[in-house]
Subunit: 320 residues, 2 copies
Amino acid sequence: MPGEAPGGGYTRTVELANRLLSGDVRALARAIRMVEDSDPGVEELLRGTRGREAAEQVIGLTGPPGSGKSTICDGLIGRWRAAGRTVGVIAVDPSSPFTGGAILGDRVRMQRHSGDTGVYIRSMAARGHLGGLATAAREAVRLIGASGRDLCLLETVGVGQSELEIMQTADTTIVVTTPASGDGVQAIKAGILEIADVFVVNKADLPGAQRVVKELRELAHHTRAGTQWEPPVVLMTATEGAGLAELFAAVESHHAAMVANGELLRRRAMRLRAEVESIVMERASQRARQAMQDGPVRAQLDAGGIDPYVLADRILDGHG
Amino acid sequence: MPGEAPGGGYTRTVELANRLLSGDVRALARAIRMVEDSDPGVEELLRGTRGREAAEQVIGLTGPPGSGKSTICDGLIGRWRAAGRTVGVIAVDPSSPFTGGAILGDRVRMQRHSGDTGVYIRSMAARGHLGGLATAAREAVRLIGASGRDLCLLETVGVGQSELEIMQTADTTIVVTTPASGDGVQAIKAGILEIADVFVVNKADLPGAQRVVKELRELAHHTRAGTQWEPPVVLMTATEGAGLAELFAAVESHHAAMVANGELLRRRAMRLRAEVESIVMERASQRARQAMQDGPVRAQLDAGGIDPYVLADRILDGHG
């Protein structure tokens, strides 16, 4: 924080952590902005909220643009609120690294919850680099938990690898598709198929909806043969609320199954490993940038003829 | 390489490097497969080809699916071949991490060059993780250069951040759009705008083409005010070859300008820095995975309650 007295940044971070833990919405908004800006205070903040950072359930929702994700979000939020549970929504658009793009429109669509303090909705732009996007999503999810929300909904537009990485943060991943041309089973990438816990075929009124459901069921059956969970396929017309009860039931039963068979603990342990790996990578990247800015490494680069692999080893081992 | 006598892998890599340097197409194909598979031999291979790895020009081509990228590629290849220059094409689809997706179709479309040994076309699937995709593209471009191709064309489908990272490898980046709905100026993300050296508005026969050209020219003018290069906007009907001569001239004059004003050297120096950083990150990631697999780090993770930031520091400093 610029213009602060020495130590002031730390004190303010502790204060922010305390306000966050008390559920203060402005503190949450500010903390997430710090995540977006890759503010170094985020680390201190997350340490300050440690032990309180896990929401009971983290639900991921992904699918192509226009597949009705935000209407489905909206429906799920309504259900959770009716059950007295508080919700935080983080919407990430990896395809729009600089503006946040389409997600802003989605945010507007979820406005019917805007007067409800039990619902916090935030779209996140990906200002940092890619490793940073999954990292940022993960940190935001932790902040939502720290602020005392019972559930966190993590929404992302489907664009391949980055969406896969973001969805690693979820306990239950919902993959939405529609019978519209270009979507359907063809649009579901191999990696997505493997991380889906629940499929939604939205826009049931479009021709071919039943066929898409059938194909997805077969695909889910074959992909998960012999595993503990075969992802159910829910047919919906989200704009009319049709299928919402089934989706809600599918999400709840997936969560119950994961608690029962230990999968929830396993996933959270895997997530911690992914988290450590990504922190290691971010720090290594910082170390490389710093080393190349000046000193012997910069001189070697400017002189030319240096083997990048040799140089990388030197930097990593701090001999730069 | 499994089943080899100790040291055999090294000897074979040296042999492969020599065959690659002699322009052997099969050696090139095998080397690129090694890149895709993140084969540890790639490092040795690139060392073995060092000093020969730069193609004279690396041209990047990006744009939304269906914007006519491969037809434009095809046209450029024809021009270069007519001038007696050899070409290597690497097509990457970041949105399709597991199958290579749409690019396979594109490859078929460029088949008219399939009998020409002066043209090498390769689609690359992104089997590794994301950092790995830009890294893989960069390594493939180096291999194309090492195999003696005069030019390398790097094609990628526009999906945000990963495309930006891949395009960092190019000397000249061509950004394609069309007047079709969803494309046009709106589809050009801020990051793309900043890396474009030449714009193409393809499908000139569609309504609104002139308007898109006009808007792009204004945008390019404003974004690059005061810089040394204002990206020209070329109107094309690629399927009929219309505008191809203008595009070719624009690419050549961008290259000539970069040589004249030192920008080419500056870009290549930046690229080397990006390369070093990404090698550092990949090695850090390997180190983290290894550390978490067993030993004290694994024990700490299993015991729980460990701060991921503290653990990350220990791993990075080799105290795992």
